[in-house]
Every structure is written in structure tokens, then in C-alpha cells.
């Protein structure tokens, strides 16, 4: 798979997006992408009626690292502290199919040509699935931004969409990198800080409790779902080998039947992966983003409390009172702003989450039914015609 692969638009199966990309003033999509030695080049396409952009319709090539840069700059923008920043898309991970491909190459001598071809096809399909998934997840990230009243107006966002040169130079700002690293270091203190806060606002108290608990549960579910999906995939792979060996022993209709049943197992595995696992994974990250918001608000509250203490001190000492008062005012304003915007964000997040879950659970159930029915129909037809059942 060293040759570039293009991803063609047309498949609108989106695992987690809900109601995105409907505002005609700014429409974004990733119509195709190239995969070169595991480096993916996305074509980001923008259609807009906004005058802030130079052209109404344009495309730029972007790499995964560019998306990360965009995400990180948004996170570190003070003005957006009260917003849930859409989670960064995960790095394209072709590890699994690549490793399997390698193993397949090594084991080629031990299998029949047919078996090898089938396995190779399976792997190519897996590779393609990973590819499609990564395109979707990058696309959704951008669409979340464009659908957001504040974030869509961000300058860096515009640069990302429009700048027709390589963004690499901008990205390699050492200071930004260091800032990001530092930010990650204190992340572990999040939980403690958030939990330790004395909350006056009921809404936030409830949200805090809920999000902290929900996050740990969904993280667990995601891991367990991934494991389950992997087991399914293993079984599907076993069936490929079995079908191939059975075929070389005899190629009668029962074997053919076996093969088609095997295909269904494979479908089940990839469907679950796409729907349920992806859903859980995405919302796990989204909830992390919501927690980050709570963290920033908690930080702001701490700052406010500290500024109060400083003001008291200043009053005691009768020194620098105006500065202390102003500082306190600023902290309060910041805190209030975060609380107000945070409340809005968290409320709409709730709605968004419920809608996405609904959509995905329905689609998953429908797919399971469809595949099982297809498989049973194949088998029943065989049994009726060949084995002459009567029921």
C-alpha cells in the first residue's frame, strides 16, 4: 500500500456528526484525500458567502499536524475559554492494517493463492476503512468549528481554510509547542481542581458531578467496545482462512455458503466499529473538551478568589488598593463570562450528545438487522433449494 490512494466523496456515512454544515454562509468539506506512505494529505474545500474570505470557493491541501495546530491555538485563545473547543482529530493510525499486511507477506508461502488474495482484499478494505474514518473525523472537526457562532469567526481558522501556502512554518513556533506541552502537564491536576471547588451554582455543580462520572464510564465503554470489535474482526479473519481451506478440500455449495456467511461476520465487525465504537470514542473526547471548559472556569474562580484575598490584603496594608480592586473586577468579569458562556455551551452539548446517540444507535440496530437478515436469507435459500427443507 505504498501507492497513493484517493478517497472519493460520495459515502455520506458519518458516524457522529449531527446537523453540521448546513449554514450556507460557510460550508466546509474534505472531498478527497491522498494517502502516501501513511501520511495523509487532506483537501479542505470551502464554499462561502462571507466577505471576510477572498474567494467564494476554494481548496487547500492540509496535513494532520495543521489540524492539531489549529486546535491548539484555539484552546490557548483566552477569548474562547468559555467555549467547548471541539476535540482534535486523532492522528491517522494505519498501524493495525499495516502490521497485518506485513504478517500476511511473511506468511504468503504457507497459504494458497486464493487464501492470500482474500486476506489481501480484507486488509485493503480495512485500510480503506481506516482511511475513510480519519477523513470523516477531520472533516467533522472543521464542521464543528464552522457551525459555532464564535469559533467560525476565528482568524486562525480562516488562515487554515484559506492560506494557500504550506502552514508548516507557522506551526513550528517553538513557543507554541512549549506552551502546549506545559498545558498537558497540568492536565492531571484538572480533576482535583474541579472536584475541590466550592460550587455556588447548582447548574455547574450538577454538570461537574455528571461529567466527571460520565467521562470515566464512557472511557471504559470505549475501551471495552474496541476490544469486542477486535474479537469480531479476529473471527472474521479466521473464517477467511477456514473458507479458503475448505475450498481447497472441496468446492461444493456448502463451502460457498460458508464463505458468504463469513463475509457477514466481517460486516458485523466493521459496522459495530463504525457506529458504536466511533460514537463512544468521539463523545469521550468531546466530554474531555467539556471538562476542559470546567477546568478553565474553575481556574478562573480560583483566580477570582485569590484576587479577593489580594484585595483584602491590600486594604489591610492600605497599599495598591485601586490595582487590587481592578484586578478583582477583571477576575470577576472573566469568571462571569466563562460561567455564562459555559452554561450555554454545556446545555447545547447535552442536546447534541443525545441526538447523536439516538442517530447512531438506530443506525447500528438497523444494520445488525439487515446483515443478519441477509445472511439468513442466503442460508435459507440454500437449504430450501439444496437440502429440500419443508417447514
Amino acid at each position: 500500500l505504498s501507492t497513493p490512494q484517493k478517497h472519493q466523496r460520495g459515502n455520506t456515512m458519518r458516524s457522529v456528526s449531527v446537523d453540521l454544515n448546513h449554514d450556507a454562509s460557510l460550508l466546509i468539506d474534505i472531498p478527497d484525500a491522498l494517502c502516501e506512505r501513511d501520511k495523509v494529505k487532506f483537501t479542505v474545500h470551502t464554499k462561502t458567502t462571507l466577505s471576510s474570505f477572498q474567494k467564494p470557493d476554494f481548496s487547500v491541501p492540509r496535513q494532520h499536524e495543521d489540524f492539531i495546530w489549529l486546535h491548539d491555538t484555539l484552546v490557548e485563545t483566552e477569548d474562547y475559554a468559555g467555549l467547548i473547543i471541539p476535540p482534535a482529530p486523532p492522528k491517522p493510525d494505519f498501524e493495525s492494517p499495516r502490521e497485518k499486511m506485513h504478517k500476511l507477506g511473511e506468511g504468503e508461502a504457507t497459504m494458497t493463492k486464493e487464501e492470500y488474495t482474500k486476506m489481501k482484499q480484507e486488509l485493503e478494505a480495512e485500510y480503506l476503512a481506516v482511511f475513510k474514518k480519519t477523513v470523516q473525523v477531520h472533516e467533522v472537526f472543521l464542521q464543528r468549528l464552522s457551525s459555532h457562532p464564535n469559533l467560525s469567526k476565528d482568524r486562525n481558522f480562516q488562515i487554515f481554510l484559506e492560506y494557500d501556502q504550506d502552514l508548516t512554518v507557522r506551526r513550528k513556533n517553538a513557543k507554541e509547542m512549549f506552551g502546549g506541552f506545559f498545558k498537558n502537564m497540568v492536565k492531571s491536576a484538572d480533576e482535583v481542581l474541579i472536584s475541590g471547588i466550592k460550587e455556588v451554582d447548582d447548574f455547574f455543580e450538577q454538570e461537574k458531578t455528571f461529567l466527571l462520572d460520565y467521562y470515566s464510564k464512557i472511557k471504559d465503554s470505549t475501551a471495552k467496545a474496541e476490544k469486542m470489535t477486535r474479537s469480531h474482526k479476529n473471527i472474521a479473519d479466521d473464517y477467511i482462512h477456514i473458507s479458503a481451506t475448505l475450498n481447497s478440500l472441496s468446492a461444493d455449495d456448502t463451502t460457498i455458503l460458508f464463505v458468504s456467511v463469513q463475509k457477514v461476520e466481517g460486516r458485523v465487525a466493521s459496522d459495530q466499529e463504525l457506529k458504536l465504537t466511533e460514537l463512544l470514542r468521539y463523545y469521550m473526547r468531546d466530554i474531555q473538551a467539556a471538562k476542559d471548559l470546567l477546568y478553565r472556569r474553575a481556574r478562573a474562580l480560583v483566580d477570582y478568589e485569590n484576587s479577593n484575598k489580594a484585595l483584602d490584603k491590600a486594604r489591610l496594608k492600605s497599599k495598591d488598593i485601586p490595582q487590587a480592586e481592578e484586578h478583582q473586577q477583571q477576575c470577576l468579569q472573566k469568571f462571569d463570562k466563562l460561567s455564562e458562556s459555559g452554561k450555554k455551551e454545556l446545555t447545547s452539548f447535552k442536546g447534541r450528545r443525545v441526538v447523536a446517540f439516538r442517530k447512531n444507535l438506530i443506525e447500528m440496530a438497523e444494520l445488525e438487522i439487515k446483515h443478519a437478515k441477509v445472511s439468513s436469507t442466503i442460508q435459507l435459500t440454500h437449504f430450501y433449494t439444496n437440502e429440500k427443507w419443508t417447514l
Binding site: D220, K224, M228, D238, I242, L249, S375, S376, E387, K388
Partner: protein
């Protein structure tokens, strides 16, 4: 396995089986009963095709029955036997399930209390009924012996404990003491039977079905206690394997005639088989392989005038290799399926927790429902795992052992040839000795020499006849075996797929029940 020896046309000279034409089976179900495993490139392909497929109702559940049985003798059996053996079937008896036939059904039919493990296959609710029952009634008349192995019971305690099984027979054959009867037997009895048969039949070139292998580990667990799941699984596995073993034995026309078999089925108390020590540990394949090596090491190499045997032997070896390969993958499947059971159960719990955590009521409810569906899925996976193992994996294990037995009978033929050659060379020596004596003029010694020559001439003739006879038997046996194997495989795979089909239909129901819950989320 159904007997098909009766289906084979008159004794073969060293030529191909008549009816060996390419697949010109009349009816549309021409692949019915065709041997799955014959190597299309083998010279003798045509030979292994069932010659009377038209007679066989193109039906899943029929074996060759009802239909004509012009039984052909091949010199091994006396003519009397033929009448008795028209279409005998090793039937599973006492089936609470829809009766059908033998080998396929061993899982669902043993009427004894099923071990309370998840490996019990639930009586197939969806058995095709009417046509199959029709076949069954037709075929019942021609089935002569049905055997079943059921009711495993632990006798005694501690390291001397053993498991006794109920062996039930139902038969219309006059040679048995009654029409239905049962006895209790333990594993070593089955082994003892095999030993006796091997010793006796080995000179004839029959394929003696091997019983399941000893297992010190398995039995030790059982001795300690029969309640844990792995012991239950072990006992069930062994019970089913012993049943298939017996079914194959009684399905074999010559073996059924053997008084040891009759004794095994009928006699109340059997003397304890002690010589089974030889069959410990490594099992039959090792024994056969050792014998093979001994044959190969013999200096007189066989000059094969008939390539059928060489080709067939090669085929058998290739097939064994393929089956081993398949077995490895099926073992992998069984393990992965068990993993899936585990990970599904774990996931279901996790979903339930998530549902509890969820603050939107309708979504919370849906997630809890999802957790329940996943629990049900785990149950389905468990049943599928049992199916993987008991239907698929055990089938492969059986046939790998059986192919070993097939190789064994080829070896028997080679040894018979060697004995013949040795007798000839001894005769030659005697003749040379006689010539010397003639020249030396010693009349009394001459008389003795002449007598010896006559004796050895007779021996040579006997050995030659034995060799020819074994050759014919081996051919017959192999053809019969291939036919049985084809049917067995086909029916087992169909059974496996049936189980999967049932699973999927239940799966559909579960998800269809869940769908409204998902839609109700608001």
C-alpha cells in the same frame, strides 16, 4: 456413518470402480453425497463417487436407505451376511429430538441428561420436519442397529473414580439377544474393544475406527470433581466422541459381525480391559505412525503394479495435512469466539454502567436496553462457540484420527505383501536346498525337503491370496470411507450453518426489539 459397502458394484478386478463416470448424477442435486474431499486430480476420482446417487433422496436427512441394496460380497463376508446387512445404519437412538440420522446428530440427540454447561446444544427448534420424518420412517425399516452413548455417571471417588456410560442398542438383527438393550461401559472398555478389533482385523485391511484419545489431564479433573464447567465439557466431549466411535463401528459391515463387538454391546459385565496401557498418552496416531515407520524401514520395497494404491495413499496424506491446517484455524476460531463471549459480557456491563450515569432519561433507558441486548448476544456467542467446537472442531479431530487409521490399513497391505515375498524367498531357499540334496543323494533328508517345499508352496499361495484379498478389502474400505466422509462433512457443515442460522434469526429479534427504544430517545 451409513454403510455404503452394499452400494458398491461387484468386486473389482484391479480396475476402476464401475460407475466411475464423471458427475452424471441424474438429478439436480448432483452434488448430494458427492465426496467432498476427493482430489480432482487423482486418477481414481471417479471411483469415489457414489454410484447410485439417484436412489438417495436429495435430502439433508436421509442416508442411503430404503433404496435398493443389492449387497455385493467381496469374498470377505459370507453370503449370509449380505441379507443381514442391507443398509445398516448406525443410528442414534433414544433421540428426544427430531430423529434423523446418525453422525450428524450426535450433539442434539443423546437423551441422557445434558451436562448443565453452556456447551449443551439446545434441541433444535427449527428442525425441518415433515420431509425428514418421512425419510426417517422409510429408513427405519432398513436400519439394523442404532447405538447411543448416554448418561455419564461418576463411579467411585478419588483417583480410582471413573465415568460409566450407558450404551444402548436398538436393533432388528437376529444375532442379538433382544431388540433393545443397554449396558454400562467405561472408557477403558471402549479402548479394549478397539484393541481387540485392531489385532484381529488388521490382517484383513479394514479401516478400524479409532476411539477418542486418553487424556490424563481431563480425567484427573473429573476424578476430582465433575461439577466445574471444564470437567462437564470434557465429559460431554468424550461421551459424544465415544458415541460417534461406536456408531462408526456398527456401521461397518465386517466389524458388526465381530463377536467382540456383539459382546461389547450386549454382555452385562465385561472383563476389565488391561492391555490398554499400550494406548496411553500419545494415542493412536503415534502408534500408527510408528508402525508406518517400521514398514518403511523394511528393506524389500514394494513394487506397486497398481498405481491406485500409491495415488490413493498420497491423497490420504495430503488430505490429512489439509485437515490439520483446518483444525489449527478452527481451534483459533474457537478461542476467538470464547474471547468474544468474554469481551461482550464485559462490554454489556460497561454499557449498563454508562446507562446509569446518563442523565437524559430516554437515552439512559436505551443504553440499559442496549446492555441487555449485548448480554443476549453473549449468550448467542456461547452457543455458537459450542457449535464451533462440538460440530466443527470435533469433526476434524475425528477425521484426522480416521485418516490415520486409513493409512494404517494401507500399511497392512504392504506388510501382507512383504510376508508373501518373504515366503517366496524362503520357498526359493528350500528349493535350492532340495536341489543340493538331490545332487548329494540323501533320500531321507530329501523326503523332508520335499515336504517342506510343499508346505511352503502352500504358504506362498496362502500369502498371495491374503495379499490380494487385503488389496480388495482396502479398496473397498477406502471407497466406503470416502463416501462416508463426504456425507459426514457435508452434514456437519450444514448442521453448523443451521446453528448459525438459528442464531442469526434470534439476533434479528433482539435488535428489532431494541429499535423502538432507540427511536424513543428524545
Amino acid at each position: 456413518m451409513a454403510a455404503s459397502s452394499d452400494r458398491i458394484p461387484p468386486p473389482f478386478p484391479a480396475t476402476e470402480e464401475p460407475g466411475a463416470g464423471p458427475s452424471d448424477m441424474a438429478d439436480g442435486d448432483s452434488d448430494e453425497g458427492e465426496d467432498i474431499f476427493s482430489n480432482p486430480m487423482a486418477v481414481s476420482r471417479g471411483v469415489s463417487q457414489p454410484d447410485n446417487v439417484n436412489e438417495e433422496p436429495p435430502d439433508l436427512f436421509s442416508e442411503e436407505e430404503a433404496s435398493s441394496t443389492t449387497v455385493k460380497s467381496n469374498g470377505v463376508h459370507s453370503d449370509d451376511d449380505n441379507d443381514l446387512f442391507a443398509d445398516e445404519e448406525a443410528h442414534v437412538e433414544l433421540s428426544t429430538d427430531t430423529p434423523g440420522s446418525s453422525a450428524r446428530k450426535e450433539l442434539s440427540t443423546s437423551s441422557g441428561p445434558h451436562p448443565a454447561s453452556s456447551f449443551t446444544r439446545s434441541p433444535a427448534a427449527m428442525q425441518p420436519t415433515s420431509l425428514e420424518q418421512l425419510e426417517e420412517e422409510e429408513s427405519k425399516d432398513s436400519f439394523d442397529v442404532d447405538v447411543a452413548v448416554t448418561n455419564p455417571e461418576k463411579i467411585g471417588d478419588g483417583m480410582n473414580a471413573y465415568v460409566a456410560y450407558k450404551v444402548s442398542t436398538r436393533t432388528s438383527l437376529a444375532m442379538f439377544r433382544s431388540k433393545t438393550f443397554s449396558v454400562r461401559r467405561r472408557y477403558s472398555d471402549f479402548l479394549g474393544l478397539y484393541e481387540k478389533l485392531s489385532v484381529k482385523q488388521s490382517l484383513h485391511g479394514c479401516i478400524i475406527p479409532p476411539p477418542p484419545e486418553k487424556s490424563v489431564v481431563g480425567m484427573t479433573k473429573v476424578k476430582v470433581g465433575m461439577d466445574d464447567p471444564s470437567s462437564v465439557e470434557f465429559v460431554e466431549r468424550r461421551r459424544a466422541a465415544l458415541e460417534r466411535y461406536l456408531q462408526r463401528v456398527v456401521a461397518h459391515p465386517s466389524l458388526l459381525q465381530d463377536p467382540d463387538v456383539r459382546e461389547f454391546l450386549e454382555k452385562e459385565e465385561l472383563p476389565r480391559a488391561v492391555s490398554t496401557q499400550a494406548l496411553s498418552g500419545a494415542g493412536f496416531l503415534k502408534m500408527i505412525n510408528k508402525a508406518s515407520d517400521a514398514v518403511n524401514k523394511m528393506t524389500i520395497k514394494m513394487n506397486e503394479s497398481d498405481t491406485w494404491f500409491e495415488d490413493k495413499f498420497q491423497e490420504v496424506e495430503n488430505e490429512e495435512q489439509q485437515l490439520r491446517k483446518l483444525q489449527a484455524v478452527v481451534d483459533s476460531l474457537v478461542n476467538h469466539r470464547k474471547e468474544l463471549c468474554g469481551s461482550t459480557a464485559v462490554f454489556a456491563k460497561s454499557m449498563a454502567m454508562l446507562g446509569n450515569s446518563e442523565d437524559n432519561t430516554a437515552l439512559s433507558r436505551a443504553l440499559s436496553q442496549l446492555a441487555e441486548v449485548e448480554d443476549k448476544m453473549e449468550q448467542l456467542h456461547q452457543e455458537q462457540a459450542a457449535s464451533d467446537f462440538f460440530i466443527f472442531a470435533e469433526l476434524l479431530a475425528d477425521y484426522i484420527r480416521l485418516l490415520g487409521a486409513v493409512r494404517g490399513c494401507f500399511d497392512q497391505r504392504v506388510r501382507a505383501w512383504q510376508r508373501w515375498q518373504e515366503a517366496q524367498s524362503t520357498l526359493q531357499k528350500k528349493r535350492e536346498a532340495e536341489a543340493k540334496l538331490l545332487w548329494a543323494n540323501k533320500p531321507d533328508k530329501l523326503q523332508q525337503a520335499k515336504e517342506e517345499i510343499t508346505e511352503w508352496e502352500a504358504r506362498v499361495t496362502q500369502h498371495e491370496r491374503d495379499f490380494d484379498r487385503i488389496g480388495m478389502t482396502v479398496r473397498k474400505e477406502v471407497l466406503r470411507f470416502e463416501k462416508e466422509k463426504a456425507k459426514d462433512f457435508r452434514s456437519q457443515i450444514v448442521k453448523y450453518l443451521e446453528a448459525m442460522l438459528q442464531s442469526q434469526q434470534r439476533l434479528v429479534k433482539f435488535w428489532e426489539a431494541f429499535l423502538p427504544e432507540a427511536k424513543a430517545i428524545a
